[in-house]
């Protein structure tokens, strides 16, 4: 039995003639302890897929099974790292993480909760910023807080929705290593959604492309057979890496081309001018 399983999952937004089928016939199996990356184009329905798995939305048809049980609503067993961090700006780093810990471990005493929060903030290297508010942090630091918040709930599975998408290349590289580091300690099941093939290859055991929507489906999987821990600097000389990377990119380019030739609809933009409030007050 797979740890996480999606069976013929379809998701349609809207009703009647206005409906759009975003995801169509998604079948996916993830085993325990696996690190799977789903690579897809922007707007291909990646976030919809994530929200289906973490329980924020329900599939129109098909089943999402987590440890053999259908997913109903969110659960502390599946930690989520959002693309846009989603920290609460009126809370400090400590309070943001503590809020999650208090919910996940309602029976723990205050000191236990405090210890847990402090240790996870230390793990992501933000001890010096523990009492700062999100606005005083850089993008990378904010995402670390978000990582700490998700991990502090001790989830059995981590779901990452383009967690590093908004960061610059250097910060991105650092955080990739940190996430891998944390993951390798207890090998929790992880699902990474990304639009960066290199990131997928560097981090995951398997890469599954998501064909562009509407009616997005999963493409054939690519196994990444590179030993861990992986060294970024030596990756470029690894034959395995080069071959897999080329295969995936060729595949993605091909489906990208096919999408281009299919869509010849002309979109008419509404003729609207933004209203100006300048000088009204």
């Amino acid at each position: 039995m797979a740890y996480l399983e999606l069976k013929n999952v379809c998701k349609t937004y809207g009703q009647g003639n206005n409906s759009t089928e975003v995801l169509s016939n998604i079948n996916l199996k993830i085993e325990e302890g696996e690190f799977v990356a789903i690579v897809g184009f922007t707007g291909s329905g990646k976030t919809t897929l994530v929200n289906l798995i973490n329980g924020l939305i329900k599939p129109t048809s098909g089943e999402v099974l987590f440890k053999g049980e259908p997913v109903v609503g969110t659960s502390h067993k599946r930690g989520v790292i959002f693309q846009n961090y989603s920290l609460l700006p009126w809370l400090t780093v400590y309070q943001n993480v503590a809020m999650a810990v208090k919910e996940a471990f309602p029976k723990e005493s205050k000191t236990e909760i405090k210890e847990r929060v402090v240790s996870f903030i230390k793990m992501v290297g933000l001890s010096h910023a523990i009492d700062k508010r999100p606005k005083e942090l850089s993008g990378g630091m904010r995402q670390r807080v978000s990582v700490a918040r998700a991990l502090a709930m001790k989830p059995e599975m981590i779901i990452m929705d383009e967690p590093l998408g908004a960061l610059d290349a250097l910060t991105r590289g650092n955080l990739q290593d940190e996430i891998l580091n944390i993951w390798s300690k207890d090998k929790r099941t992880a699902l990474l959604i990304t639009n960066d093939v290199d990131e997928g290859i560097y981090m995951a055991d398997r890469i599954i492309p998501l064909k562009p929507g509407p009616k997005a489906t999963l493409g054939p999987e690519f196994i990444i057979d590179i030993e861990r821990p992986r060294d970024k600097t030596k990756l470029n000389d690894n034959i395995n890496y080069i071959e897999t990377r080329n295969k995936i990119i060729a595949y993605l380019m091909a489906i990208g081309e096919s999408r281009k030739s299919v869509s010849n609809t002309e979109y008419v933009l509404p003729d609207a001018t933004p209203k100006s409030f300048v000088g009204q007050f």
Partner: protein, 366 residues
Amino acid sequence: MKQEITLKKQHSGFAFFKQIASIVKSKFEKDAVSKSLKKTAITIVSILLFLGLWHLGSKALYNKEAAYRIEKALEEQGPAAADAERACIASGESRCQPNTLPSPTQVWASFMSLIADHHLIQAKKDAFNLKMESTNAKLIAQGKKAIVYTGRASFIDIVLTSIKTVFAGFLLALIIAVPIGVIIGLSPSLRSAFNWFIQIFKPVSPVVWYLLVFMIVKTLYIGASSDNAFVISFVSVGLCAMWATLVNTAMGVSSVDKDYINVAKVLKLGTFQKVFKVILPSSLPLIFTGLRITLSVAWMVLIAIELLAQSPGLGLFVWEEFQNGANDSNAKIIVAMFVIGIIGFLLDRLMLTIQQMVSFNKNEGI
């Protein structure tokens, strides 16, 4: 609605005071000094220009009224009376001064006389209290009410009454509007149930609110000896001003960012936690925008309501001076006008500062 949101962060609170502070602070930064000086100079020039125009205008009106009086005397009583009238006006005797728009100097003189009057009344009050001290102590010991000074209220007392009324009204608005706003913001069905109610009562004039409150309070206070003018006026002010807070709170609560709601769902926060830890903090900026509008509306309608309710505040003061028609009445009315304006401005700055303390940029956490 949109306009109310964009209001925030448009001005910085206490900008004028900051300007002064920055002049002091950056004494040695030549550039900053010249910039701030320029700004201050422009403000001072505009004030002087305003005073000058006002002076000229009032002088023209004064001359017109004087000429009319002399003309009237000439027509009705002959040249001798006209000469007497002219001499009387020129002598500055108060009984034959033309009664028109007062000049800036007259207004300033009135202001000073009102302050002097306040000191006089205060002295009387102190003397009275001193005299009654032992009697009052006895009365209180016997469980009776102490005798208080019931003489004429000074201008400062009047202003304080107005401020007290406005804050009582504001608190009432806050107590009513914020909880109801939160509740109808949380539930779309309650929102549509309340919508007609809000839409109908929001545009009702302060005078009508006063009449409504009067009908109710009058009956409630039947037989009670205490003066209910204060109650009537602050309740009317509160009811009249609470709508902005109600609408803004409901809107803030119902339009919480979806990301925050998702966080609450993923963390599986309970309803109580979700409301108090996520929804309320994220709608605080809009709630305070509403409260700021409420306070300025409260101050604006206060004058009319005090006038109707005969509450001894600025509204009644203005009306009584107008009815009084004494020589310096017009000047006193203008003094009251400036006091109303300046207090309104200060209240608005106060709310703006609080509003900026609680507001956050949506991008800060994202």
